[in-house]
Amino acid sequence: MVRKSNNKEYIRNLEKRVETLRILTEVSSIISSTLDIRELMSLVMEKAKEILSADACSILIYNKNNNKLEFEVAICGEEETSELLKKKITLDMGQGIAGWVAQNQQIVVIKDVKKDKRFFHDVDKMTGFETKSLIAAPLIGRRGLIGVAEIINPQKEDYDLEILSILTRHFATAIENALYHAETLEKERIKQELEIAATLQKSFLPEKPVFEKGRIRVSAINIPARHVGGDLYDFVEPDINKAGIFIGDVSGKGVSAALYMAKIISDFRYISRGINSPSDVMNKLNKVLSGAPRGMFLTAIYLIVDVEDGEAVISVAGHPPCIMIKKDEVYVLEMSSGPPLGIIETDFDENRVILKNGDRLIMLTDGVFEAKNISGERIGFNTILEFIRENRNIENLIERITGLINEYSKNTEMADDITIMEVSCL
């Protein structure tokens, strides 16, 4: 008799082990079947519900930013209840059973929730669902707590708690992988969007970075710091003998600066038509930009040069100075300047300079001399000035300046947009 009963026990245990192995294999295949986070969590929870013959299952994901648990997946009989849980309910750390499990990172089995003080009745009140018993397990991945899985009203009682914790560890790893995959996809999407934005932004700048009219030749280099930037330049022809050259730098960086730059360049092209006075254009642009959001402003220089006699009229709005290159000397052009555009009402001045045969004028944005090296030191305006002095006879000077900055900022992330223009009188 004893032997018979031992045999039965042995067979029952064996069957249980076979069943456990079957579940583990099934769950493993589910886990490796998808990287879609929602699909994965739904599949896992469906399986858990089935294995334990439970009424409902849910996964709460830990949101690091607000330190709360949010319902991500809820599988119940009623779809409305699931939606309500997902949209309306969040738990603080330590709040309810799930909050306790998240805080203590321990699996919890509660046979009768009415007898457990930790149970948070409000969720049942809101959903109309009746929780009698539950199993709550922490989901812990390589990067720490991911969330909590809850199995509500499990009918099966002969489950193995150890197997359950092995399963939740597997779930946690799979969820973490899927989350990581989703993050990577999102990053890739943003990168692609930024690449599109960069192409679009470039289309706002002149088609070619070189402009020639009469005795005047202008060339420009523009390198945004992070795909898109707030630096801009433009060439216009306000009159038959005139060339208009504009350089500007929008405050801030990235997408907001790029969008504002696009607006400014359109405003500039509209305003500058047929106006031969750069200060008139600056005054008008200043008015248009005075309603800029979030205090955004623009430093700029607008130069209108007579392409026959080389007389240049320049208006400056808080922008770094121009550097004049003559045959025997290089110097900073002393000019009167107004504040940046878009801040206060003001009248901008005009400065007059005659560009003679062989003269070159360098215009730049502050990204050029604020470039940092790996120790965080800025290159400075004077280094740029000295470099220009030493290399004044070189033809491709603005490319050389870019090379100097690249060399100086080697192994660092470019901090600001760089724009350099050279106006030559032939």
């Binding site: 730098d249 929008v250 405050s251 801030g252 960086k253 990235g254 979030r294 205090g295 955004m296 402003f297 430093t299 709005a317 808080g318 922008h319 770094p320 300047s337 107004g338 504040p339 940046p340 801040i343 206060i344 502050d366 600001d416």
Partner: protein, 110 residues
């Protein structure tokens, strides 16, 4: 960046320590705008003596503050600017836009 708000002689003083750049200016914006909103005819004085750097997004934050305080009829001024910060303001002619003083007392002609 660290900020500290001190009520001094009936005015609000905002002391800033560290870099004001595109990473820290959103936080500064919230503090400054709420300070201006609650200033009720008080001056808002910004102590720059421990500011190590300011970029254009930081300056834009103060431009926004300046525009906001004008509508409230109050005053926003800066003092104690280290030479490198003063140079940034001077270089971009922002010294004409903002009220800048050497010391807190100078601002009130004390």
């Amino acid at each position: 960046m660290k900020t500290e708000i001190i009520e001094i002689k009936g005015n609000k003083k905002l002391k800033i320590t560290g870099d004001i750049d595109m990473h820290t200016s959103p936080e500064l914006r919230e503090i400054l705008l709420s300070l201006i909103k609650n200033s009720r005819n008080q001056c808002v004085c910004v102590d720059f003596s421990d500011v190590t750097y300011i970029d254009s997004s930081g300056i834009a934050t103060f431009v926004e503050g300046l525009k906001a305080i004008r509508t409230s009829g109050s005053r926003l001024f800066f003092y104690g600017l280290p030479e490198n910060i003063m140079e940034i303001f001077r270089f971009s002619r922002l010294d004409r836009v903002f009220e800048i003083y050497r010391t807190f007392e100078d601002a009130f002609g004390i």
